[in-house]
């Protein structure tokens, strides 16, 4: 009865992720080169002469052959150098380090909000299939996913900031009056708590609510539907019948037996939704002036800012690997059978 240890699962997963990361590096390198637009011309500005552009091209190393450029790029990567962003003038690494936590904080808060609604609603809907409650939950979830996030965001701003005045102005992570807490995790809520600064915490929390709700409403549909479907199928399985025949209390059957078994598909969906939201919440970031990674990537792409785009894609790929690893670990916590067959 030997079960694989958590450590061996982690190591196996990390080794398995290496080829896909290599693939991502190659593909993004080629794709960014294949994009239309000339970064040297963009960088030199509209009034620059051809010589100036050529000179910039040479300093950026863009006049070398693609394989040469690739080898230089990989060499820099190995030294932890992601290059400089042409648009911000900073190193890509420092840009990402300030912007990624902003997106992470927003996405995590959105998911948390979504989960606290989706799990109870999904369970309720599954225990009463076909009831008005079930239909109500379906309508809510469908509405959440069919309204575009920028619309929901603007609507929330209109109602809660403009009309009711109970939400702060949608101007980023903190109002101008506050200075950001010392960066430890980069998540303002966590950092301000670590610093014991409750005022900043409150301010950051206030800024976070509306964009997080906007994102969360969007994620509500997949999470609720999966919770419901998964609970329904588990509730009709044989071992639930055994539990009922044994006289276990309904709460024990629902949460102790059914819910834990129903969690696996929910966790899978959670991972998919998370990585999707993290990269795709550009619109929410724009609406709330949130200094996140999505808006950074879009402006870099428009400016043909190779280093920034590559840095973004690579970061997302690494995040994806880490996320999948976490999900796999979560699987082994929930289901003892996970990881046995591989």
């Amino acid at each position: 009865m030997s079960r694989p240890s958590t450590l061996s699962v982690v190591i196996r997963r990390i080794i398995a992720a290496i080829p896909s990361i290599l693939g991502v590096i190659i593909v993004t390198f080629i794709l960014t080169r294949a994009l239309p637009g000339d970064p040297a011309a963009y960088f030199a500005g509209p009034a620059a002469t051809q010589e100036a552009i050529d000179q910039i091209r040479e300093t950026l190393g863009l006049n070398r052959s693609l394989p040469e450029q690739f080898i230089i790029y990989v060499g820099e990567l190995l030294r932890g150098d992601l290059g400089n962003s042409l648009t911000t003038g900073q190193t890509v690494l420092s840009d990402l380090l300030t912007r990624l936590p902003a997106s992470l904080e927003l996405t995590l808060a959105g998911l948390l909000f979504s989960l606290t609604l989706a799990l109870p609603l999904g369970i309720l809907a599954a225990t009463r299939p076909g009831s008005w409650l079930d239909h109500g939950v379906r309508v809510l979830a469908t509405a959440g996913v069919s309204l575009p996030t920028f619309f929901t965001g603007l609507l929330l701003i209109y109602v809660f900031y403009f009309r009711l005045g109970i939400a702060p102005a949608p101007l980023g992570r903190l109002a101008i009056l506050y200075s950001s807490p010392d960066q430890i995790t980069g998540l303002f809520l966590v950092d301000s708590l670590l610093a014991g600064d409750f005022e900043t915490f409150q301010a950051a929390f206030g800024q976070l609510i509306l964009p997080a709700v906007t994102l969360g409403l969007f994620a509500l549909a997949p999470l609720t539907r999966v919770t419901r479907a998964s609970m329904l199928s588990v509730l009709s399985s044989d071992f639930i019948r055994t539990a009922r025949a044994s006289g276990l209390a309904p709460s024990m059957i629902l949460f102790g037996y059914a819910f834990r078994n129903a969690l696996l598909p929910v966790v899978t969906t959670l991972g998919v939704v998370f990585s999707f939201l993290l990269g795709a919440n550009v619109l929410v970031e724009k609406v709330f002036a949130w200094p996140g990674i999505g808006s950074y990537a879009v402006s870099a792409l428009i400016a043909s800012d190779y280093a920034a785009v590559q840095g973004f894609v690579l970061t997302m790929a690494l995040l994806y690997v880490v996320l999948n690893l976490l999900i796999d670990l979560l699987y082994t916590v929930i289901d003892p059978r996970a990881g046995v067959e591989s």
Binding site: P129, D238, T242, A243, R244, A245, S246, L248, M252, R337
Partner: protein
């Protein structure tokens, strides 16, 4: 309809007595009349076999008695009388909360396919503790001790280690023993074993059945063995009920039922069962199949389309149970002669 199967014994001495129980399943394609006017009883310490081919309603009957039918299943008629300490209760009228205290404690059930009937992601010891905890006030240590005793009582080797095993780590036979331990955890008065040996190999089948028999004798427990295996039923049961398409067609003590079957279906069932002395060609399959229980115009006798003795009367008149011998009843207008 007269269904005097229970009148052979006064209700007071029966542990469980089911009367005129009818169950319907409301499905998208129509109402399935899964059980119709089922009546039988079982006394303390007795072993009753319920036999019949797949789809005859045996398992539905068990689930209906325990009150754990699917959402689509509805009990439309009848009563399930449970007698204990000179008190008799109709389980169908009992509030869910009280019924829950009986389930797993006084009446419990073993399911077919033990591997999926156990929670796949909970340690088997914990599953035993769950049942014990909801029916007793034992402390944490006592619960574990009792669970280990139970594992030992169903002859599971090395209970200490098995306590921490998950169902997928155990063989089918071991899972079935866990299932039995689970059902017998609170020393029930009645055990319903639904196909307890299906999916187990022959040697394990015998061990499991003998284990059940011994435990039943020890605890004076009544056992209902639901099976399609006539040989198994004949070996372990005192009395047998034959079901066909949601009806009870015959009820008799084991020996007379096998030596002198009176219902044509029972006779055909026995003729279709392989035995050591029979050649393969001696086996006579039962022609036709179970009638579609969704039909509006179901004949009073549901065996009519497969029966070679049927007449106008079987089509017209309500099914009648005849007493052909002491404790031998048959639901047929033209029972076989002895």
């Amino acid at each position: 309809m007269i269904s005097p199967l229970t009148t052979t014994k006064p209700v007071q001495t029966s542990l469980l007595s089911v009367r005129d129980l009818s169950v319907e399943f409301r499905t998208r394609t129509g109402i399935v009349k899964a059980l119709e006017n089922i009546s039988f009883h079982i006394s303390k310490g007795e072993t009753l076999g319920i036999v019949g081919e797949s789809g005859s309603g045996k398992s539905v009957l068990a689930l209906a008695i325990l009150g754990i039918l699917d959402r689509a299943g509805h009990i439309t008629n009848g009563e399930v009388l449970w007698s204990q300490n000179t008190e008799t209760h109709n389980l169908l009228k009992m509030p869910e909360k009280k019924l829950r205290q009986l389930r797993g404690k006084e009446l419990s059930m073993i399911f077919q396919n033990p591997r999926v009937a156990l929670n796949p992601i909970r340690k088997v010891g914990k599953q035993l503790v769950d049942v014990l905890r909801c029916h007793s006030n034992l402390s944490r240590n006592q619960l574990k001790k009792r669970a280990l005793e139970l594992l030992a009582s169903v002859k599971i080797p090395d209970p200490q280690q098995r306590y921490d095993a998950y169902p997928y780590e155990l063989s089918g036979g071991l899972c079935q023993r866990i299932m039995i331990a689970l059902a017998l955890a609170c020393s029930p008065k009645l055990l319903i074993a639904d196909e307890p040996t299906t999916g187990l190999d022959v040697t394990t089948q015998a061990t499991v059945m003998n284990l059940l028999k011994d435990l039943a004798t020890d605890q004076q427990m009544a056992t209902v063995v639901i099976t399609h295996d006539l040989a198994l039923a004949s070996e372990y049961c005192d009395r047998i009920i034959v079901m066909h398409a949601g009806h009870i067609v015959e009820s008799a003590p084991t020996h007379p039922l096998f030596s002198q079957p009176r219902h044509p279906y029972t006779a055909k069932l026995i003729a279709a069962t392989p035995e050591p002395h029979k050649e393969f060609n001696d086996l006579i399959p039962i022609l036709g199949s179970l009638p579609d229980l969704r039909r509006e115009d179901l004949a009073p006798c549901r065996f009519i389309s497969r029966c070679d003795r049927a007449s106008e009367r079987c089509q017209q008149e309500a099914l009648m149970y005849q007493q052909v011998d002491e404790a031998h009843w048959v639901g047929c207008w033209y029972p076989l002669e002895v």
